[in-house]
């Protein structure tokens, strides 16, 4: 599909990027804490429910973003990147876009396959139905492992991704990070070319 290309991210893309980033990091911390053995059972129950609620919100936003990045304008890479850098960045971005959808779907599978049939009542407002899969303890355990492995792998990739962004900003002094921060933060170059009236 031929797509219009653009030199930067629109406001929606920027908002989605940072909201999803905060949600994913929060969910990782929450997911880690709530699965500790020593935790109080009542607190654990409630943390699981918050995790499922925010996880569903993350899934919704990540799905919107994945569809947008496959169909909306194509954002051109920043000038001055090598072919290898472009290809690696592109691969990393699509991997993260995909994981942001797959990780919560795996979480949804845990809730759906569990014989405990604990409802997902997002923010105590909407009942999210279970996916139509057979219920068994074995299936629940399998999806728990998949969810955990993919979630922590995502965290590792997020570190690489952030490290690369910081490297571009502080070492290469290009626009890679700033164009995801919004126009206010654009580097000096822009203000020289387009002086404020």
């Amino acid at each position: 599909m031929p797509r219009r290309s653009a030199g930067g991210y629109d406001l929606v893309a920027i908002a989605l990027h940072w909201t999803i980033a905060v949600l994913i990091l929060g969910l990782l911390v929450l997911g880690f804490i709530m699965t500790r053995r020593s935790i109080d059972p009542a607190l654990q129950f409630s943390l699981f429910q918050w995790h499922k609620s925010f996880g569903m919100l993350a899934l919704l936003m990540a799905a919107v973003r994945l569809v947008r990045s496959l169909t909306a304008v194509r954002v051109k890479p920043v000038e001055g990147l090598s072919a290898l850098e472009r290809r690696t960045a592109h691969a990393m971005h699509y991997l993260l876009l995909t994981l942001a959808v797959v990780v919560p779907v795996a979480g949804w599978m845990i809730a759906s396959a569990s014989p405990l049939e604990i409802p997902t009542f997002a923010f105590n407002l909407v009942v999210i139905p279970h996916l139509p899969v057979p219920k068994s303890e074995a299936a629940e355990m399998w999806w728990t492992t998949v969810h955990a492995v993919l979630a922590y792998s995502t965290l590792a990739l997020v570190f690489l991704h952030s490290a690369a962004a910081l490297y571009h900003h502080y070492v290469r002094h290009d626009d890679v990070l700033t164009r995801m921060l919004g126009s206010r933060y654009r580097t000096v170059k822009t203000s020289i070319e387009e002086p404020e009236p």
Binding site: P41, S46, P115
Partner: protein, 195 residues
Amino acid sequence: MTRKTAVIAAMLLTMSLPQASFSAVDVPSLAEAAGRYAITPGSRIAFAVDQVGGGGIKGKFGKFSGTFNLKAGDLAHSMVNFDLKPESVSTGQDRIDAFLRSGAVFDSSRFETISFRSERVEQTGPDSARITGTLTAKGHSSSEIFDVKLTSWNGRKIGFKVSGKIYRSRYAMDVGTPIYSNVVQFDMVIEGERS
């Protein structure tokens, strides 16, 4: 109801008992059924908690004991004492049982017994009554009402269907609301044997 009218009502109800005959079981006259009974292990203490979106948790308690005393001339002062061990809860899911026993719900290692002590009994029909009493669980006591319906009687054993709705929040057990209802619906079959 004032105390006086309650007494009169109880008297009227007990007087009208023997004539009534439109129930499933042959309703024994109170004089005939009067006496002390021990609750047998054949009784069934089942409960259900609804969950949002349909379904819920169904379970039962395996360990319990109790006695009741039917007073012929004074049904209102009949007595029921009932104790159950929350440790013996079973829902068919080990993880749910463990959660129910934990400090989140029954805290059964600290509060070993849940007890019910009746305060008064009101007859509500030829074979039915309403029992008001104090339920104590997890260190909290509250007044609760159970509806009782006679289901069997053979001169030695007497059977009742007992149902009631208990609000978990009164006993600091309302974890999981509103996903799980605050209301626990009890549906019990109580069998008493003369003692």
